[in-house]
Protein backbone atom coordinates (compact mmCIF):
# COMPACT_ATOMS: atom_id res chain seq x y z
CA UNK A 1 0.00 0.00 0.00
CA UNK A 2 2.74 2.43 -0.92
CA UNK A 3 0.78 3.55 -3.95
CA UNK A 4 -0.98 6.66 -2.54
CA UNK A 5 2.20 8.19 -1.20
CA UNK A 6 4.29 7.44 -4.30
CA UNK A 7 1.61 8.65 -6.70
CA UNK A 8 1.14 11.84 -4.65
CA UNK A 9 4.91 12.38 -4.60
CA UNK A 10 5.12 11.87 -8.33
CA UNK A 11 2.27 14.28 -9.04
CA UNK A 12 3.80 16.81 -6.66
CA UNK A 13 7.13 16.47 -8.45
CA UNK A 14 5.62 16.96 -11.89
CA UNK A 15 3.53 19.93 -10.71
CA UNK A 16 6.64 21.54 -9.19
CA UNK A 17 8.57 21.08 -12.39
CA UNK A 18 5.83 22.77 -14.39
CA UNK A 19 5.26 25.62 -11.93
CA UNK A 20 8.96 26.44 -11.65
CA UNK A 21 9.42 26.12 -15.38
CA UNK A 22 6.67 28.66 -15.96
CA UNK A 23 7.00 31.05 -13.03
CA UNK A 24 10.44 30.50 -11.51
CA UNK A 25 8.92 30.54 -8.03
CA UNK A 26 10.93 27.91 -6.24
CA UNK A 27 10.88 29.48 -2.77
CA UNK A 28 7.13 29.14 -2.46
CA UNK A 29 7.39 25.51 -3.47
CA UNK A 30 9.86 24.83 -0.67
CA UNK A 31 7.67 26.55 1.92
CA UNK A 32 4.44 24.92 0.77
CA UNK A 33 6.17 21.57 0.41
CA UNK A 34 7.70 21.66 3.87
CA UNK A 35 4.44 22.85 5.43
CA UNK A 36 2.44 20.06 3.73
CA UNK A 37 5.10 17.55 4.67
CA UNK A 38 4.98 18.63 8.31
CA UNK A 39 1.19 18.54 8.38
CA UNK A 40 1.06 15.18 6.62
CA UNK A 41 3.47 13.58 9.05
CA UNK A 42 1.70 15.20 11.97
CA UNK A 43 -1.56 13.66 10.77
CA UNK A 44 0.11 10.27 10.43
CA UNK A 45 1.15 10.61 14.06
CA UNK A 46 -2.54 11.07 14.81
CA UNK A 47 -3.37 7.54 13.63
CA UNK A 48 -4.88 5.32 16.30
CA UNK A 49 -5.77 1.64 16.64
CA UNK A 50 -9.21 2.28 15.20
CA UNK A 51 -8.34 4.70 12.39
CA UNK A 52 -9.79 3.86 9.00
CA UNK A 53 -7.75 2.91 5.95
CA UNK A 54 -9.22 5.97 4.21
CA UNK A 55 -7.63 8.28 6.75
CA UNK A 56 -4.24 6.59 6.31
CA UNK A 57 -4.47 7.10 2.57
CA UNK A 58 -5.58 10.71 2.96
CA UNK A 59 -2.71 11.50 5.32
CA UNK A 60 -0.29 9.73 2.99
CA UNK A 61 -1.45 11.85 0.09
CA UNK A 62 -0.84 15.08 2.03
CA UNK A 63 2.64 13.99 3.12
CA UNK A 64 3.41 12.62 -0.34
CA UNK A 65 2.41 15.85 -2.09
CA UNK A 66 4.64 17.79 0.27
CA UNK A 67 7.53 15.42 -0.38
CA UNK A 68 7.04 15.71 -4.13
CA UNK A 69 7.26 19.49 -4.00
CA UNK A 70 10.62 19.29 -2.29
CA UNK A 71 12.80 17.25 -4.60
CA UNK A 72 13.80 19.90 -7.10
CA UNK A 73 13.52 23.39 -5.55
CA UNK A 74 16.41 23.08 -3.04
CA UNK A 75 18.66 22.14 -5.94
CA UNK A 76 17.63 25.26 -7.82
CA UNK A 77 17.99 27.43 -4.71
CA UNK A 78 21.51 26.14 -4.15
CA UNK A 79 22.48 26.55 -7.78
CA UNK A 80 21.12 30.07 -7.82
CA UNK A 81 23.41 31.02 -4.95
CA UNK A 82 26.62 29.41 -6.17
CA UNK A 83 28.96 30.52 -8.89
CA UNK A 84 29.18 28.66 -12.15
CA UNK A 85 32.38 26.79 -11.34
CA UNK A 86 31.07 25.62 -7.96
CA UNK A 87 27.82 24.22 -9.28
CA UNK A 88 29.21 20.75 -9.89
CA UNK A 89 30.47 20.41 -6.33
CA UNK A 90 27.27 21.99 -4.99
CA UNK A 91 25.17 19.36 -6.75
CA UNK A 92 27.61 16.72 -5.59
CA UNK A 93 27.24 17.94 -2.02
CA UNK A 94 23.46 17.75 -2.25
CA UNK A 95 23.72 14.20 -3.52
CA UNK A 96 26.08 13.41 -0.71
CA UNK A 97 23.81 14.93 1.96
CA UNK A 98 20.91 12.97 0.45
CA UNK A 99 22.68 9.64 0.70
CA UNK A 100 23.97 10.42 4.18
CA UNK A 101 20.44 11.27 5.24
CA UNK A 102 19.01 8.18 3.55
CA UNK A 103 21.32 5.81 5.34
CA UNK A 104 20.86 7.55 8.68
CA UNK A 105 17.09 7.61 8.25
CA UNK A 106 16.84 3.95 7.32
CA UNK A 107 18.72 2.97 10.44
CA UNK A 108 17.26 5.48 12.87
CA UNK A 109 13.70 4.78 11.76
CA UNK A 110 14.32 1.11 12.49
CA UNK A 111 15.84 1.91 15.87
CA UNK A 112 12.91 4.06 16.95
CA UNK A 113 10.41 1.37 16.05
CA UNK A 114 12.49 -1.33 17.67
CA UNK A 115 12.94 0.70 20.86
CA UNK A 116 9.20 1.31 20.94
CA UNK A 117 8.60 -2.43 20.82
CA UNK A 118 11.31 -3.10 23.42
CA UNK A 119 9.87 -0.57 25.84
CA UNK A 120 6.51 -2.30 25.59
CA UNK A 121 7.94 -5.80 25.90
CA UNK A 122 6.37 -6.20 29.36
CA UNK A 123 2.98 -5.20 27.98
CA UNK A 124 3.33 -7.77 25.20
CA UNK A 125 4.03 -10.48 27.73
CA UNK A 126 0.99 -9.46 29.80
CA UNK A 127 -1.39 -10.00 26.90
CA UNK A 128 -0.85 -13.73 27.25
CA UNK A 129 0.07 -14.76 23.73
CA UNK A 130 1.79 -17.96 22.63
CA UNK A 131 5.55 -17.67 23.10
CA UNK A 132 6.37 -17.75 19.39
CA UNK A 133 4.12 -14.75 18.80
CA UNK A 134 5.76 -12.90 21.68
CA UNK A 135 9.07 -13.66 20.01
CA UNK A 136 7.79 -12.19 16.74
CA UNK A 137 6.69 -9.05 18.54
CA UNK A 138 10.03 -8.31 20.15
CA UNK A 139 12.33 -5.57 18.96
CA UNK A 140 14.01 -5.81 15.61
CA UNK A 141 11.96 -8.54 13.98
CA UNK A 142 8.59 -7.01 14.86
CA UNK A 143 8.66 -4.70 11.86
CA UNK A 144 8.84 -7.54 9.37
CA UNK A 145 6.34 -9.70 11.18
CA UNK A 146 3.68 -7.01 11.33
CA UNK A 147 1.89 -8.41 8.30
CA UNK A 148 1.35 -12.01 9.27
CA UNK A 149 1.06 -11.71 13.01
CA UNK A 150 -2.72 -11.48 13.15
CA UNK A 151 -3.25 -14.83 11.50
CA UNK A 152 -1.64 -16.36 14.56
CA UNK A 153 -3.94 -14.62 17.04
CA UNK A 154 -7.63 -15.40 17.13
CA UNK A 155 -8.90 -13.49 20.16
CA UNK A 156 -10.09 -10.04 18.96
CA UNK A 157 -9.30 -8.45 22.31
CA UNK A 158 -5.70 -9.61 22.08
CA UNK A 159 -5.52 -8.45 18.47
CA UNK A 160 -6.63 -5.01 19.60
CA UNK A 161 -3.96 -4.91 22.32
CA UNK A 162 -1.27 -5.93 19.83
CA UNK A 163 -2.49 -3.23 17.46
CA UNK A 164 -2.24 -0.71 20.27
CA UNK A 165 1.41 -1.66 20.85
CA UNK A 166 2.31 -1.50 17.17
CA UNK A 167 0.61 1.82 16.66
CA UNK A 168 2.35 3.31 19.68
CA UNK A 169 5.76 2.32 18.30
CA UNK A 170 4.89 3.68 14.88
CA UNK A 171 3.59 6.91 16.36
CA UNK A 172 7.06 7.62 17.76
CA UNK A 173 8.36 7.50 14.20
CA UNK A 174 5.73 9.90 12.90
CA UNK A 175 6.39 12.24 15.80
CA UNK A 176 10.10 12.23 14.94
CA UNK A 177 9.22 12.80 11.30
CA UNK A 178 6.95 15.71 12.17
CA UNK A 179 9.67 17.30 14.29
CA UNK A 180 12.27 16.81 11.59
CA UNK A 181 10.11 18.23 8.84
CA UNK A 182 9.22 21.17 11.06
CA UNK A 183 12.97 21.83 11.46
CA UNK A 184 13.14 21.69 7.69
CA UNK A 185 10.32 24.23 7.49
CA UNK A 186 12.22 26.57 9.82
CA UNK A 187 15.39 26.14 7.76
CA UNK A 188 13.53 26.87 4.56
CA UNK A 189 12.88 30.44 5.72
CA UNK A 190 16.63 31.09 5.71
CA UNK A 191 17.00 30.33 2.03
CA UNK A 192 17.50 33.55 0.14
CA UNK A 193 15.61 34.28 -3.00
CA UNK A 194 17.83 35.03 -5.92
CA UNK A 195 15.24 36.39 -8.29
CA UNK A 196 11.63 37.46 -8.05
CA UNK A 197 10.15 37.89 -11.47
CA UNK A 198 9.99 36.02 -14.74
CA UNK A 199 12.30 38.52 -16.33
CA UNK A 200 15.08 37.67 -13.93
CA UNK A 201 14.53 33.98 -14.46
CA UNK A 202 15.10 34.44 -18.13
CA UNK A 203 18.28 36.38 -17.65
CA UNK A 204 19.50 33.77 -15.22
CA UNK A 205 18.79 30.84 -17.48
CA UNK A 206 20.24 32.77 -20.39
CA UNK A 207 23.42 33.24 -18.46
CA UNK A 208 23.51 29.58 -17.63
CA UNK A 209 23.07 28.66 -21.27
CA UNK A 210 25.87 31.02 -22.26
CA UNK A 211 28.29 29.65 -19.77
CA UNK A 212 27.42 26.06 -20.61
CA UNK A 213 28.22 26.91 -24.19
CA UNK A 214 31.50 28.34 -23.02
CA UNK A 215 32.26 25.08 -21.29
CA UNK A 216 31.63 23.18 -24.48
Amino acid sequence: MLLPITVATALGGIATGIVIYQTGRYMEMIWIGMALFTIGNGLLAYLRENSSVASIIGFQIIAGLGAGLLFEPPLIALQAMTTQEDIATAIGTIGFIRSLSTSLAAIIGGIIFQNGMDIQAAKVRDIGLPSEVVQDLSGAVAGEKVGDIYSKISDPVKVFLVKEIFVWSLRNIWITCTGMSFCGLLCSFFIKRKFLSNKHVESKTGLRKDSSENNV
Binding site: L2, T9, G13, I14, L70, S101, A105, Q114, L170, S188
Partner: protein, 166 residues
Protein backbone atom coordinates in the same frame (compact mmCIF):
# COMPACT_ATOMS: atom_id res chain seq x y z
CA UNK B 1 15.93 26.97 -20.36
CA UNK B 2 18.09 23.83 -20.40
CA UNK B 3 17.87 23.62 -16.66
CA UNK B 4 14.10 23.95 -16.81
CA UNK B 5 13.81 21.21 -19.43
CA UNK B 6 16.09 19.02 -17.37
CA UNK B 7 13.86 19.53 -14.36
CA UNK B 8 10.69 18.68 -16.23
CA UNK B 9 12.34 15.50 -17.52
CA UNK B 10 13.54 14.67 -14.05
CA UNK B 11 10.10 15.26 -12.60
CA UNK B 12 8.37 13.17 -15.26
CA UNK B 13 10.85 10.31 -15.01
CA UNK B 14 10.86 10.46 -11.23
CA UNK B 15 7.09 10.47 -11.27
CA UNK B 16 6.58 7.66 -13.74
CA UNK B 17 9.37 5.44 -12.36
CA UNK B 18 7.83 4.49 -9.02
CA UNK B 19 4.45 3.85 -10.63
CA UNK B 20 5.92 1.55 -13.28
CA UNK B 21 7.98 -0.12 -10.57
CA UNK B 22 4.83 -0.72 -8.56
CA UNK B 23 3.02 -2.15 -11.59
CA UNK B 24 5.95 -4.47 -12.35
CA UNK B 25 6.18 -5.63 -8.79
CA UNK B 26 2.47 -6.41 -8.74
CA UNK B 27 1.93 -7.87 -12.23
CA UNK B 28 5.27 -9.35 -13.33
CA UNK B 29 7.93 -9.76 -10.71
CA UNK B 30 10.28 -7.43 -8.90
CA UNK B 31 13.10 -8.60 -11.13
CA UNK B 32 11.65 -6.60 -13.99
CA UNK B 33 12.31 -3.40 -12.03
CA UNK B 34 15.98 -4.11 -12.57
CA UNK B 35 15.71 -5.60 -16.08
CA UNK B 36 13.92 -2.51 -17.39
CA UNK B 37 16.97 -0.42 -16.58
CA UNK B 38 19.05 -2.28 -19.16
CA UNK B 39 17.31 -1.08 -22.35
CA UNK B 40 16.71 2.39 -20.85
CA UNK B 41 20.30 3.02 -19.83
CA UNK B 42 21.53 1.26 -22.98
CA UNK B 43 19.58 3.74 -25.10
CA UNK B 44 20.88 6.62 -23.00
CA UNK B 45 24.42 5.33 -23.44
CA UNK B 46 24.12 5.08 -27.21
CA UNK B 47 22.51 8.53 -27.43
CA UNK B 48 25.23 10.04 -25.27
CA UNK B 49 27.92 8.30 -27.25
CA UNK B 50 26.58 9.71 -30.49
CA UNK B 51 25.37 13.12 -29.42
CA UNK B 52 27.28 14.30 -26.36
CA UNK B 53 30.16 16.57 -27.20
CA UNK B 54 31.91 17.62 -24.02
CA UNK B 55 35.32 19.14 -23.81
CA UNK B 56 37.78 16.61 -22.43
CA UNK B 57 40.61 18.34 -20.59
CA UNK B 58 43.03 15.39 -21.06
CA UNK B 59 44.34 15.23 -17.54
CA UNK B 60 47.23 12.84 -17.06
CA UNK B 61 46.63 9.70 -15.01
CA UNK B 62 49.09 10.44 -12.19
CA UNK B 63 47.98 14.05 -12.07
CA UNK B 64 44.38 12.91 -11.87
CA UNK B 65 45.14 10.42 -9.09
CA UNK B 66 46.93 13.15 -7.16
CA UNK B 67 44.04 15.56 -7.55
CA UNK B 68 41.61 13.19 -5.85
CA UNK B 69 40.77 14.20 -2.31
CA UNK B 70 41.95 10.96 -0.71
CA UNK B 71 42.01 12.15 2.89
CA UNK B 72 38.52 13.58 2.52
CA UNK B 73 37.15 10.50 0.82
CA UNK B 74 38.54 8.08 3.35
CA UNK B 75 37.68 10.07 6.45
CA UNK B 76 34.13 10.49 5.17
CA UNK B 77 33.87 6.84 4.26
CA UNK B 78 35.15 5.86 7.69
CA UNK B 79 32.75 8.23 9.39
CA UNK B 80 29.72 6.91 7.53
CA UNK B 81 30.57 3.23 7.66
CA UNK B 82 31.57 3.11 11.32
CA UNK B 83 28.73 5.28 12.58
CA UNK B 84 26.10 3.42 10.59
CA UNK B 85 27.53 0.03 11.49
CA UNK B 86 27.48 1.01 15.13
CA UNK B 87 23.93 2.28 14.99
CA UNK B 88 22.79 -0.72 13.01
CA UNK B 89 24.37 -3.26 15.34
CA UNK B 90 23.29 -1.57 18.54
CA UNK B 91 20.55 -3.44 20.32
CA UNK B 92 20.32 -6.11 17.59
CA UNK B 93 23.57 -8.03 17.16
CA UNK B 94 25.30 -6.53 20.16
CA UNK B 95 23.84 -4.60 23.10
CA UNK B 96 24.14 -0.80 23.06
CA UNK B 97 26.62 -0.90 25.94
CA UNK B 98 28.97 -3.38 24.24
CA UNK B 99 32.48 -2.11 23.45
CA UNK B 100 31.99 -2.97 19.78
CA UNK B 101 29.04 -0.63 19.37
CA UNK B 102 30.46 2.17 21.52
CA UNK B 103 33.84 2.11 19.78
CA UNK B 104 32.29 2.10 16.32
CA UNK B 105 30.06 5.05 17.09
CA UNK B 106 32.77 7.09 18.84
CA UNK B 107 35.54 6.36 16.31
CA UNK B 108 33.14 7.07 13.48
CA UNK B 109 32.04 10.37 14.97
CA UNK B 110 35.66 11.40 15.55
CA UNK B 111 36.31 11.10 11.85
CA UNK B 112 33.85 13.89 11.07
CA UNK B 113 36.14 16.65 12.41
CA UNK B 114 39.01 14.91 10.59
CA UNK B 115 37.00 15.16 7.40
CA UNK B 116 36.23 18.84 7.96
CA UNK B 117 39.89 19.54 8.70
CA UNK B 118 41.03 17.72 5.59
CA UNK B 119 38.52 19.65 3.48
CA UNK B 120 39.68 22.94 4.98
CA UNK B 121 43.42 22.44 5.00
CA UNK B 122 44.71 19.29 3.38
CA UNK B 123 43.42 19.23 -0.13
CA UNK B 124 43.35 21.44 -3.18
CA UNK B 125 40.23 19.94 -4.72
CA UNK B 126 37.90 19.06 -1.83
CA UNK B 127 34.97 16.72 -2.43
CA UNK B 128 32.90 19.10 -0.36
CA UNK B 129 34.25 22.65 -0.53
CA UNK B 130 33.63 24.36 2.79
CA UNK B 131 33.06 27.69 1.14
CA UNK B 132 29.70 26.28 0.14
CA UNK B 133 28.81 26.46 3.83
CA UNK B 134 29.78 30.08 4.38
CA UNK B 135 26.52 31.20 2.84
CA UNK B 136 23.56 30.86 5.23
CA UNK B 137 21.17 30.27 2.36
CA UNK B 138 23.21 27.31 1.16
CA UNK B 139 23.37 25.84 4.65
CA UNK B 140 19.61 26.23 4.95
CA UNK B 141 19.20 24.58 1.56
CA UNK B 142 21.32 21.60 2.48
CA UNK B 143 19.49 21.26 5.78
CA UNK B 144 16.16 21.29 3.97
CA UNK B 145 17.48 18.54 1.71
CA UNK B 146 18.68 16.60 4.73
CA UNK B 147 15.39 16.80 6.63
CA UNK B 148 13.34 16.14 3.52
CA UNK B 149 15.32 13.06 2.64
CA UNK B 150 15.36 11.83 6.21
CA UNK B 151 11.63 12.12 6.69
CA UNK B 152 10.88 10.76 3.21
CA UNK B 153 12.90 7.64 3.81
CA UNK B 154 11.55 7.03 7.29
CA UNK B 155 8.03 7.84 6.22
CA UNK B 156 8.11 5.69 3.10
CA UNK B 157 9.66 2.73 4.81
CA UNK B 158 7.14 2.85 7.64
CA UNK B 159 4.02 4.02 5.87
CA UNK B 160 3.07 0.50 4.82
CA UNK B 161 2.87 -0.68 8.36
CA UNK B 162 -0.31 1.04 9.52
CA UNK B 163 -2.14 -0.65 6.64
CA UNK B 164 -0.98 -4.06 7.80
CA UNK B 165 -1.74 -3.20 11.36
CA UNK B 166 -5.13 -1.54 11.19
Amino acid sequence: MYLGLLEVMWAIAGGVGPVIGGVFAQLLSWRWIFWINLPVSGTAFVLLFIALDVHNPQTGFIEGIKAIDWAGCFSMLGFMVMLLFGLNMGGVEAPWSSPKVICLIIAGSLLLPVFIFSEAALTKHPVMPLKLFTNISNVACLLVVFFHEFVSVTSYSMVERPIHIL
